[in-house]
Subunit: 242 residues, 2 copies
DNA sequence: TGTTGTATACTTGTCATATAAGATTACAAG
DNA sequence: CTTGTAATCTTATATGACAAGTATACAACA
């Protein structure tokens, strides 16, 4: 009855999702060209040796993510990548792999300082109280707890900015950022550095000093970028082994 | 055989999408609480007087957008709004209605100047050639053509910024912005003002002057905001009629 | 009292089969 | 060259069935 997770969760994916992933992988790998037609549902059912229902599940999943367009009587055609919903985590990991950290960080550096800026102008007293405990990073906690706390802190700031679109964007990024955060928190001394920056940001927001909040958030993200670089240098030899 | 579209396209939505929209509307209207269970597929099939297949289509659509979680043996439960993919156009229009223009514009003012900044630094000669014709706004074209051209121009700049995440964000916004653009282009003189700003932005990017590109994009969006205000004043009386 | 097994009823997941309806093609009729 | 039509692809929807996960109540047991 302890909190530690010993066993991995048993994978219980629906058939449609599994088939969908295989199809997505095939599309991303270029086995089907943009504009090309996929095999018919009947054919796919045969090749995967599953029912048409399962195949339809998979196809409707791909269609919902903008990857294909299904039309009655005509079949399924592959959409240009510009139509894909690459912010969907399922799509993102396949399209970008694990090496999108730089792009994500660059995006954060564009959006999050402004998020802090607006938050400092618009945050309510209630939201300040909610934000304060989230700013603490305790050395004794586990990596997962750090990731959780850090994510919540940045999300709460976005919420305080009182712009639903901004909040949605940042939370989309947050989901994709989980792995990156695990890496940076593994760098020695990063927790206390992160903690100090969080306090600086919090103080600026509490004081309703928008400019200071923007600058502090920018500095914080610079520090995150440096941590990411350090982590990479430390793990470069591992990658060379492959 | 002319280009002008006289007739509206016949709506040919799939049953699942229609049922899904009705369910989404019911959820947003608060007829079901967060965490609550939806009626079973069988019950829903009865109430909508459709097959279970159609209902399952609808539910899997909602699940793909993060609105509900479907679990075997347990039914479908409604997720907290933080899990909803509100960037999905289908979800966005229901959640935010038509009055999210301000939030969208604020988001653009955060993201797009940086998009132009990065584009000026990273654009290739080929991309400049693609961008140039898109910058032209011709007074003789239809509103739809303006919207199309304008959207492409801003998207191409985002593409030139060479950051997939940024591009995806801006294209997500673009889809939601279609209606807003139709409004602003209806304001007299707005086409030529937009044209001039586009030329300014293009020139800055062509000259690889990142600072100038950022400033120009910011000015352009300020002008769009003013146009939106003008449009609102002009249409205020119409809204009072309701 | 508290735990364990079990039956039961409810849920979604998957399947096979059939029919409706849109899309495409070829081709005959005018 | 256009129009109508049949054939044949495709997906859309319906029906009925069974498998399998989940929750609950309750008996059996310690």
């Amino acid at each position: 009855m302890n909190d530690v997770t010993i066993f991995n969760s048993i994978k219980t994916d629906k058939l449609g999702a599994q088939i969908g992933r295989q199809l997505m992988r095939a599309i991303v790998d270029g086995r089907f060209q943009v504009g090309e037609r996929l095999p018919s549902e009947h054919e796919l059912a045969s090749t995967f040796n599953r029912s048409r229902i399962a195949v339809r599940d998979a196809l409707s999943g791909l269609a919902a993510r903008g990857i294909i367009t299904v039309r009655q009587g005509q079949g399924s055609t592959i959409n240009p990548i510009s139509m894909w919903n690459t912010l969907d985590p399922e799509v993102f990991v396949v399209v970008y792999g694990d090496k999108a950290f730089d792009q994500l960080l660059e995006m954060r550096q564009i959006v999050e300082p402004e998020s802090a800026f607006l938050a400092a102008q618009r945050i309510t007293d209630e939201q300040v109280e909610k934000l304060r405990p989230l700013s603490v990073l305790n050395e004794d906690d586990t990596v997962d707890q750090h990731v959780e706390r850090d994510t919540s802190f940045h999300l709460e700031i976005a919420r305080a900015a009182q712009n639903g679109v901004l909040l949605t964007m940042i939370s989309s990024i947050s989901i994709l950022l989980r792995e990156s955060r695990s890496c940076t928190f593994a760098v020695p001394g990063e927790i206390s550095r992160g903690h100090k920056w969080h306090q600086t940001i919090l103080a600026a927001i509490e004081a309703r000093d928008a400019q200071a909040a923007r600058i502090a958030m920018h500095g914080h993200l610079d520090q995150v970028g440096q941590a990411l670089d350090k982590w990479r240098i430390e793990h470069e030899d591992n990658r060379m082994a492959f």
